[in-house]
């Protein structure tokens, strides 16, 4: 029954996922989300300004240089959400933003000219922190600076996206963002349950959220996305189910449902959360199951990982066409861009490299004040990295790998090159998460919710970690 739905010409990824709590619990281990491969912990300090300049120069010299996607990080938040593990600075001091923007302008002036002028920016994304910490005057100046130094596309399908905290934005603000050219909005909700909101220090009404989303629609925004989190303190299936109903009423184009990772030793804000309030593993799973069921019933297609979208959304269209790609924002239809990361802690992806800016304001400001690019670490991908990145991308985006075609494309004999990965895949095949035959590797409906476990089989850096662990055990 499960397998009869899978015909060869139908990518597995559009098959609805099967939620099996026992199976998911068995595989509930920490693992990378593969918004990059290799993952950020493998970036090294050897990647400095000189390397970055060289990498950009090489990217300009390609026969058809890639278009650009610009990410701007706004690190400030007015109030701390206790679940947050992001790089952000809590302040109510608006002048902080001005000091930050001065450095951001310097970074733009230094970075933009490194890219050839005919490489147009077709995607712009503001993330945080809270991008709407900036008022619309500051936002306008920032866009003007970007427009002056980069070549912005004027094509109708260019994307200007922004993450909005609805507690600090009203309809007028959103309308002005629309005037500035923003056309995609992403709104944090997490959970509308008042008890949960209190426990995570984020009181946000349904009405506030609706005002922002309605304003976006009437201001010409083409796409709206909302974020939910499961596994938060005091969260119950009944409460989360009500939240999902309310999300249905808001009718966003995309919904992301992230799992909360409680790591208070790593993230200071999370120490405000009482361990006793945390849902047990069974509840946690039931919450996610509830999201899968209700969103599917409401007409959302499971794209993969944390992401759901309307069947008409371009993410789903791209997945059906086999052109979906994975990047820092999760899934993207513009994965063929070079990504320019601007701002503190921002990550870029240019050519075959990743690079990250200083993660603290002190380091970020010091570099720019000295006229240097604020890059502090990164990685130049080698052949093996590129091959594995492509494979993990295929698994995450389309759930299907044509081994012969992949081999031809990357000049390798698939089964021989990935001997080790295929060995690690064996127990997953036995559990019915993956099918493998002579021609294909295929993620099944049972495997769809465990994509990262499947991808981990092909992560060469985990091979090393596993080896290191074995060594320490032996000694």
């Amino acid at each position: 029954m499960r397998q009869s739905r899978q015909t060869p010409d139908m990518p597995t990824a559009i098959i609805p996922p099967e939620f099996d709590a026992t199976l998911i619990a068995r595989y509930d281990v920490a693992g990378p989300r593969y918004t990059s491969y290799p993952t950020a912990p493998h970036f090294t300090a050897g990647f400095d300004e000189t390397v970055l300049r060289g990498v950009i120069r090489t990217s300009n010299e390609e026969p058809i240089p890639r278009p650009l996607s610009v990410y701007v990080h706004v690190p400030f938040c007015t109030s701390p959400c206790f679940y947050c593990g992001c790089n952000r600075i809590i302040t109510r001091d608006a002048s902080q933003a001005d000091r930050y923007l001065q450095r951001l302008y310097r970074e733009i002036e230094l970075v933009a000219p490194l890219f050839d002028r005919d490489r147009s920016v077709i995607q712009l994304h503001f993330g945080g922190g809270t991008p709407n910490f900036l008022d619309t005057t500051q936002m306008g100046e920032l866009l003007e600076s970007l427009g002056q130094h980069f070549s912005f596309s004027h094509a109708a399908d260019r994307e200007y996206g922004i993450e909005i905290d609805p507690r600090f934005a009203d309809a007028a603000y959103i309308h002005e963002l629309g005037e500035l050219g923003f056309n995609r909005i992403s709104v944090g909700i997490q959970d509308f349950d008042p008890a949960v909101q209190k426990a995570v220090n984020r009181i946000q009404s349904f009405e506030q959220t609706r005002e922002v989303l309605d304003a976006a629609r009437s201001s010409g925004f083409r796409s709206a996305s909302v974020d939910l989190i499961y596994g938060l303190p005091l969260q119950t299936v009944a409460g989360f189910s009500r939240t999902l109903d309310q999300v249905g009423a808001l009718n966003p184009d995309r919904v992301a449902v992230y799992g909360y990772a409680h790591l208070p030793e790593m993230f200071k804000a999370q120490r405000q959360i009482a361990a006793a309030d945390m849902p047990d593993p069974a509840t946690r799973l039931a919450l996610f199951g509830c999201a899968v069921t209700q969103l599917s019933a409401a007409g959302y297609v499971y794209v993969g990982m944390d992401h759901f979208a309307k069947a008409s959304d371009e993410l789903v269209q791209a997945q059906r066409a086999g052109t979906l790609q994975r990047n820092f924002q999760g899934y993207s239809t513009h994965g063929d861009c070079d990504i320019v990361g601007l701002g503190v802690s921002a990550i870029g992806r240019v050519g075959d490299s990743y690079s990250q800016n200083a993660r603290d304001l002190i380091g970020y400001y010091a570099a720019l004040d000295a006229g240097r690019l604020p890059v502090v670490r990164g990685l130049e991908l080698d052949e093996d990295d590129l091959i594995r990145r492509a494979l993990i991308g295929e698994l995450m985006c389309h759930g299907l790998v044509d081994k012969r075609r992949f081999g031809a494309r990357h000049r390798l004999l698939f089964d021989e090159y990935f001997v080790r990965g295929r060995q690690r895949l064996a127990p997953l095949i036995a559990d019915g998460l993956v099918l493998e035959d002579a021609r294909h590797i295929r993620v099944t409906s049972r495997g769809r919710l465990l994509l990262r476990i499947i991808a981990m089989c092909f992560d060469a850096y985990l091979d090393d970690a596993a080896q290191a662990a074995r060594y320490s055990r032996v000694i």
Partner: protein, 253 residues
């Protein structure tokens, strides 16, 4: 990442290093082997003629093989990698004269002035056979086939400028450029439809007397017309006949 997984890796076209020669055998891409063999000279006989060939390299991207004004003592056959030749004028402006692929010979244009009239710069990791020119001349005088081969290479070198001559559109130039490369790769036994463009778009543009943006725009158009597939610098000619038609005014029949 240090730990490699070379098992299952296939060799990279089009430049598997032609290092298959030894004391008694020519390398697969040797620029002279066919002329010598046709004349009955295998490698041991050449050694007896003291026409020793020296393997040089690797040169890394950006490194000079020779510079303008260097005294001419040898010609170089590319064993692997790609080379551009260029002149730089007094204002520092570069003019790219040509690109050389494995099996092709650079330095022929220095035979008369006895000084290299241009720079030769490696575009990626490149290896060469260095042929001492006095020894080469001696060989040519004893082996008419080698002399004939040298003349053929010289006249080809002179003829290659035809890609740039005349008033032709950017589409014609780029299509002819791709088909010219394809033909040269094919002549050396490499794939004629799938190869790596080692030259930057700036070099291609400079060579074709076009703006860099124009080269990219034309390639994008060829891509959307289904004539080529291009990923980074990996190029596949999907419709060689179509490209030949576009570039035909600049291509030999």
């Amino acid at each position: 990442m240090q730990s490699k997984h070379p098992a299952g890796r296939l060799p990279e076209p089009p430049s598997p290093i032609a290092d298959d020669g030894d004391e008694t055998h020519f390398c697969g891409t040797c620029a002279f082997s066919s002329a010598c063999i046709a004349a009955g000279y295998e490698k041991p006989e050449l050694a007896e003629l003291q026409c020793l060939v020296e393997h040089v390299g690797p040169f890394s991207a950006g490194q000079h093989i020779f510079r303008t004004g260097d005294p001419f003592r040898a010609i170089f056959a590319v064993r692997s990698g790609t080379v551009k030749t260029r002149m730089v004028d007094k204002e520092g402006r570069e003019q790219v004269l040509g690109f050389y692929l494995p099996g092709e010979v650079i330095g022929l244009n220095a035979i008369y002035p006895e000084h290299f009239p241009c720079d030769a710069v490696a575009l990626d990791t490149a290896f060469f056979c260095r042929f001492s020119f006095p020894a080469m001349s001696a060989l040519a005088s004893r082996v008419p086939a080698v002399q004939k081969h040298l003349f053929r290479m010289l006249s080809k070198e002179l003829g290659s400028a035809s890609l740039l001559a005349g008033d032709h559109s950017a589409d014609e130039r780029v299509a002819a450029f791709l088909m010219d490369l394809a033909g040269r790769y094919a002549a050396r036994g490499f794939s004629a439809t799938r190869f790596h463009l080692s030259m930057s778009r700036g070099d291609i543009a400079n060579y074709l007397r076009l703006a860099a943006e124009t080269v990219s725009r034309v390639l994008s158009r060829f891509r959307s017309q289904g004539l080529i597939r291009i990923e980074g610098r990996e190029l596949e000619l999907l419709d060689p006949a179509g490209l030949r038609q576009i570039g035909q005014a600049l291509l030999p029949d």
